[in-house]
């Protein structure tokens, strides 16, 4: 799916090595499109069902419509962005500890 | 016959020693030494059961009644020491047959066993006698023969080590005899029981305090209390393997016994702790010994030397137990006398097996031995775990009582120190295990397992390490009894 990229400020640790021998996506595009569509359907169904069914939350925040869907989406978005930032802080070359 | 057992215990090895020199034949001399050890061990077992059943034994040498004659007086404390010494001696003598043939010139083997028997006799004598001057005499007998035994080591440095030990041992013995002399000058008696009666009347006399100081330093030197231990590592390192095992398990133990006898029975716990503040002297030294010597042991590359430093640290545990000035503390100390004899005996004998096969006990030379000498190294591992204080070994029982004693006094930092230093012990034992099991064996030589003649005595002590680690009732029972006697809580 995505090209190998590294955060801008860090030298790619594999610089100087030959790039990994990775081929194209292993799942044929036709299939991945079908899977994506199916997944989209699931999301829509979950939302619709959520409105139809009687959702009785236990936590006050659950009063917010579609709270779980929003929380899941935003939470993971935040998680990924923070992790990318974390990488700048903690990532070291693979042989960092090798001289111990 | 049986009433003579207390003295026969000492006399039999003493008489057999010159016979060794007369017969000259190595195997015959060995047989005499084995006979002497076995007799002593048998008698010690008989004595300890008698003492535990019916109280202290007293024997007047030549029927001269004390305090003028020499009395042999055996209670639970020294009966216990007699068992330790003769038990280790028996295990070592069986180990020595093959080991000594390899490490000592054939022409000197008979002399070796003569010195061995003299040393045994001296150590047993110190333990058995009830007369302070007699203590000095036997101390000299055991020390002089010990110098000779150490000097028989293969390494040229053994001679130098023995010489240094001789100087230090003589200084120690001199201090002790000065102390004895000063006591005699003040009280006019040499009998221990008699001294114990008369000393409270002269507590205030300065001479007695000086005598106490001389005796203390003399004993510290003989038992290798830090910082007076400097003679010990070389002596243990360069002595023949069997001698190291014997000395490490007995000589310092008997010196600790001397300390206990002088300061608890003769001077009395009240004088030692209330007047002389012995605990304040012993505790810092014990803690320093445990820490600094464990640390030094971690840095050693010669495993015999490593264990020698570990011995000094372990003596620190005994002294720590004594410094608690309580029955539990003394129980821990007396218990550790026995337990440490078992573990160090087993460890030094396992090292003797290694030396027998590969001629070196350097840690690098032991690489990969776990596969080549599995029984030997397994013995070392069990002995090492016992040294660390892993449950189901005797080491754990000792540490347990020591920690209980520390907590009983409310000194929990000391309990923590005991635990931390156990981890330090793990570190130095681990270095050997790591070399033996995790490094590759250098493929350029053939090495086989040590012969059964060495393995059987080694494993006998290993098994005792585990046995008394699981069933500690007997050892703890005797140690408690001894501690009560020493604290004056029981006759």
């Amino acid at each position: 799916m995505n090209e190998k990229r590294s955060p801008d400020s860090l030298q790619p640790p594999e610089a100087g090595r030959p790039p990994a021998q990775h081929g194209p996506n292993s799942v044929p595009p036709r299939w991945s499109k079908r899977i994506l569509l199916g997944f989209l359907g699931l999301c829509v169904a979950a939302v619709v069902a959520g409105f139809l069914a009687d959702i009785h939350g236990e936590h006050p925040w659950e009063e917010v419509p579609l709270f779980h869907a929003l929380y899941g989406f935003l939470g993971i978005s935040g998680l990924i962005l923070v992790s990318k930032a974390l990488r700048r802080l903690v990532m070291r070359p693979e042989d960092y500890y090798d001289d111990e | 016959m049986t009433q003579h057992l207390p003295v026969l215990q000492v006399v039999i090895p003493l008489v057999l020693a010159p016979l060794c020199v007369l017969v000259r034949h190595p195997r015959a001399a060995w047989a005499l030494a084995a006979l002497g050890s076995l007799c002593a061990f048998g008698i010690a077992l008989d004595i300890v059961s008698t003492v535990l059943a019916s109280g202290p034994l007293s024997y007047d040498v030549g029927d001269w009644a004390p305090p003028w004659g020499i009395e042999y007086r055996i209670d639970a404390v020294n009966a216990w020491i007699l068992v330790i010494v003769s038990l280790v001696s028996t295990a070592v003598v069986f180990f020595a047959r093959a080991s000594v043939e390899r490490e000592v010139e054939a022409s000197r083997v008979a002399l070796f066993y003569a010195a061995y028997l003299l040393c045994l006799s001296g150590l047993l004598g110190i333990a058995a006698t009830g007369d302070v001057f007699n203590v000095f005499v036997f101390l000299e007998i055991s020390s002089l023969s010990a110098y000779a035994l150490i000097a028989l080591g293969q390494d040229r440095r053994a001679l130098a080590a023995a010489f240094r030990y001789l100087i230090m041992g003589s200084v120690g013995a001199t201090f002790i005899v000065i102390g004895i002399g000063l006591m005699y000058a003040t009280t006019g008696t040499l009998n221990m029981a008699d001294l114990a009666d008369r000393l409270p009347g002269v507590w205030h006399v300065r001479t007695i305090k000086v005598a106490y100081g001389f005796l203390a330093v003399g004993c510290f030197l003989k038992l290798a209390l830090f910082p007076l231990h400097l003679w010990l590592p070389n002596a243990y390192t360069f002595a023949p393997s069997a001698v190291t095992a014997f000395m490490a398990a007995t000589a310092t133990k008997v010196a600790v016994y001397m300390l206990l006898r002088f300061f608890f029975t003769i001077f009395g716990a009240a004088f030692s702790f209330d007047v002389m503040n012995l605990d304040m002297v012993l505790m810092p030294l014990a803690v320093a010994a445990i820490f600094s010597m464990s640390f030094v042991a971690i840095l050693q590359t010669n495993v015999k030397r490593l264990l020698a430093y570990s011995s000094v640290a372990q003596i620190g545990y005994m002294i720590l137990g004594i410094s608690f000035a309580s029955v539990t503390g003394l129980t821990a100390a007396v218990l550790h006398l026995f337990n440490h004899a078992l573990m160090k005996g087993a460890l030094f004998m396992a090292l003797g097996c290694v030396a027998y096969r590969i001629g070196s006990v350097h840690i690098d030379a032991m690489a990969g031995l776990g596969k080549r000498m599995p029984a030997t190294m397994a013995a070392f591992v069990v002995g090492g775990l016992s040294l660390v204080g892993v449950p189901l070994t005797v080491g754990f029982v000792s540490k347990w009582y020591l920690i209980l004693a520390a907590l009983e006094r409310g000194w929990w930092p000391l309990a923590v120190i005991v635990l931390i230093t156990s981890v330090m012990a793990l570190a130095y034992v681990w270095r050997v295990i790591e070399a033996a099991y995790f490094r590759e064996f250098p493929g350029d030589r053939e090495t086989r397992e040590a012969p059964a003649a060495l393995l059987v005595p080694t494993w006998a002590l290993v098994v005792l390490n585990v046995y008394f680690g699981i069933d500690a009732t007997r050892t703890v029972g005797v140690a408690e009894r001894a501690a009560e006697i020493l604290m004056g809580a029981a006759p």
């Binding site: 799916m1 995505n2 190998k4 590294s6 990775h22 081929g23 194209p24 996506n25 292993s26 994506l36 699931l42 999301c43 979950a46 939302v47 959520g50 069914a53 009687d54 959702i55 925040w61 779980h68 869907a69 929003l70 899941g72 989406f73 993971i76 978005s77 998680l79 990924i80 923070v82 992790s83 990318k84 990488r87 903690v90 990532m91 070291r92 693979e94 500890y97 111990e100 | 130098a160 240094r164 230090m168 200084v171 201090f175 300065r206 100081g213 330093v217 510290f220 910082p227 007076l228 002297v281 010669n302 449950p391 029982v397 009582y401 907590l407 009983e408 309990a415 981890v423 500690a472 703890v476």
Partner: protein, 567 residues
């Protein structure tokens, strides 16, 4: 029933036999041990105890109640699965060492959960440490040797802390019995710390991240099942309703998920995931209500199954391809379809998809948080459960089996591996579909119904949109790429900072030594020489000094002793 044997005994005897048998005989034996053990433990009833006296204290090496029995059943199941998984091992893979160590390890875990007193617990605690270290060393790489050593040191220190705490407790309370401990006083904290190390509390966790990925493919499956679960058990027994655990658990559930996003080694990703899951259990124990404790131990039970399944699937990949890094893998579904499906079942379970076992236990903890009034912890844990989807639910199967085609063409793993994974997968689904199977074993009576429309729908929404976010980030190509790299964690403090400190201190001491040497003169000199001989490795330099310095020490001692008395 009193005819049962102590549960650990079956495994220890099995280990002895495994050490002396070879080939098919050993394989049969290995499978029989957990089966025999399970039959044995099935006969053990509440109140079964086995006591002995040691040093004047009553020890209870075996004491069964509902809590220990649950863990007892679990460990037998885990041992059975992991043993089947490791049957194929050959001599070249250190099979004997691994098999024997694994059985001792499983036996020690059983011993620990049935231990009725601190001394027995301590014994099994240390046995766990030592036996499991062999599963790491057996991989025989240079990295494994060092990681195994670091692991062992940490575990042994944990044991020492446990013993220290236990001894102080004996002194305070006069009993060795292992029951509720609580955090009053130093002894409670020491025991807490000891368990905390094994449970991988934040900042005490790095041994797990460091060591588990260094184990053998089969060894890590054992490792994932026992050590941390013993710690969860010990917390549930000793520290229920200890509030600090709620916050510690929340921290544990959250911080690893960030690391898991950027970790390249998939087994290390699973190690982070493990801490995250333990976070849920610790949190539940901290809440301490019957529902929360039930949820925590049920989640421990399920975690062993699904985390084991995930570790097994990654172990299978590693066994067949020799690789575990996401950047090296991809496209394996073509040649390992069964493994891929089994891995996805594990991923669904850990993500708490309804009808899989993670759902039925995690929702208990979530409900208990609200019942317990932890309104601000609940969203945190909800975030953590969404995070699980990211690393364990999607990342693991995606990068190993799909993603870009690595060009690796291999085969399915050996049949025993597939069989073990299948058993675990069936268990995951069975408990997910019929939660009553597990609820019946829990320590407290259960009145909880995970499958109501509200629960199921909200969970599906959460998961679907969490995955949606990942898909969007992938499509926009801003999802963090897999990079061969090391990410710093708390182990940096002892692997780097500590090492530097030691080196610098060493240099400083050496310099001080030089300074002292040049300054030393007169009386100071022999004393310094004596000290040098005492502490340095022996050198032939100062051979003539010692006798002199020794006598000097004697003189000093005597003088000090006498002065001490007369001043």
């Amino acid at each position: 029933m009193t005819s049962s044997l102590p549960p650990f005994l079956v495994f220890f005897v099995g280990a002895l036999l495994a050490a002396v048998t070879r080939g098919t005989v050993r394989k049969v034996l290995l499978v029989l041990v957990p089966v025999a053990g399970a039959l044995n433990v099935w006969g053990v009833e509440e109140g079964y105890a086995w006591q002995l006296e040691f040093l004047g204290y009553v020890l209870e090496p075996v004491r069964a109640d509902r809590l220990s029995l649950l863990f007892g059943y679990l460990f037998h199941l885990a041992a059975f699965i992991a043993v089947v998984y490791s049957l194929h091992l050959k001599k070249a893979e250190n099979a004997t060492v691994q098999h024997v160590a694994a059985l001792v390890y499983a036996g020690s875990a059983l011993g620990a959960v049935f231990a009725g007193d601190f001394i027995s617990l301590f014994v099994f605690w240390e046995l766990l440490a030592v036996s499991s270290a062999f599963l790491i060393w057996s991989r025989r790489g240079p990295g494994s040797a060092r990681a195994g050593m670091r692991y062992l040191v940490v575990q042994v220190v944990s044991g020492v802390a446990l013993l220290a705490g236990a001894l102080m407790r004996v002194h305070e309370t006069g009993t060795l019995s292992f029951g509720f401990v609580g955090l009053d006083g130093l002894s409670g904290w020491l025991i807490f710390l000891a368990i905390g190390v094994k449970a991988a509390f934040p900042l005490l966790h790095s041994w797990l991240i460091d060591a588990y990925p260094e184990g053998t493919p089969t060894g890590t499956v054992f490792l994932s099942a026992f050590t941390t679960k013993v710690a969860v058990y010990a917390l549930a027994r000793g520290f229920p309703e200890t509030e600090i655990l709620v916050y510690a658990g929340a921290a544990m559930a959250c911080f690893p998920i960030f690391y898991a996003v950027i970790e390249n080694d998939l087994r290390r990703t699973l190690a982070y995931s493990m801490i995250n899951q333990i976070g849920f259990m610790v949190c539940g124990i901290g809440v301490g209500s019957a529902l929360a404790i039930n949820g925590a131990v049920a989640h421990a039970f399920n975690d062993v199954l699904f985390k084991g399944l995930l570790f097994m699937s990654m172990g299978a990949v590693m066994h067949m391809t020799g690789k575990t890094k996401a950047s090296d893998l991809g496209g394996l579904y073509k040649t390992m379809p069964f493994t891929a499906v089994l891995c996805m079942i594990g991923a669904a379970s850990i993500s708490a998809v309804p009808l899989f076992n993670g759902f039925v236990s995690k929702s208990m903890i979530m409900s208990a948080l609200i019942d317990g009034g932890y309104m601000w912890i609940w969203p945190v844990m909800l975030f953590a459960s969404a995070g699980v989807v990211e690393h364990a639910g999607i990342k693991i199967p995606f990068f190993a089996f799909f993603a870009q085609d690595s060009g690796i063409r291999t085969r399915e793993p050996p049949r025993n591996m597939l069989a073990a994974m299948t058993v675990a997968a069936i268990a995951c689904v069975a408990i997910g579909v019929r939660p009553g199977l597990l609820y019946g074993l829990l320590p407290y009576a259960v009145d909880y119904h995970p499958y109501d429309a509200s629960h199921v729908l909200t969970q599906i929404q959460l998961l679907a949109f969490a995955i949606g976010a990942i898909v969007v980030f992938q499509l926009l190509k801003i999802y963090p790429a897999e990079i061969r790299a090391v990410n710093l964690d708390a182990d940096w403090f002892y692997r780097r900072a500590g090492a530097r400190l030691v080196r610098r201190t060493g240099d400083a001491v050496a310099q001080a030594g030089v300074a002292l040497r040049s300054a030393a003169a007169g009386v100071a000199r022999p004393m310094y020489e004596g000290a040098f001989r005492a502490h340095g490795p022996h050198g032939p330099l100062a051979r003539s000094w010692p006798a002199g310095s020794m006598v000097l020490w004697v003189a000093i001692m005597l003088a000090a002793f006498l002065l001490f008395q007369f001043l």
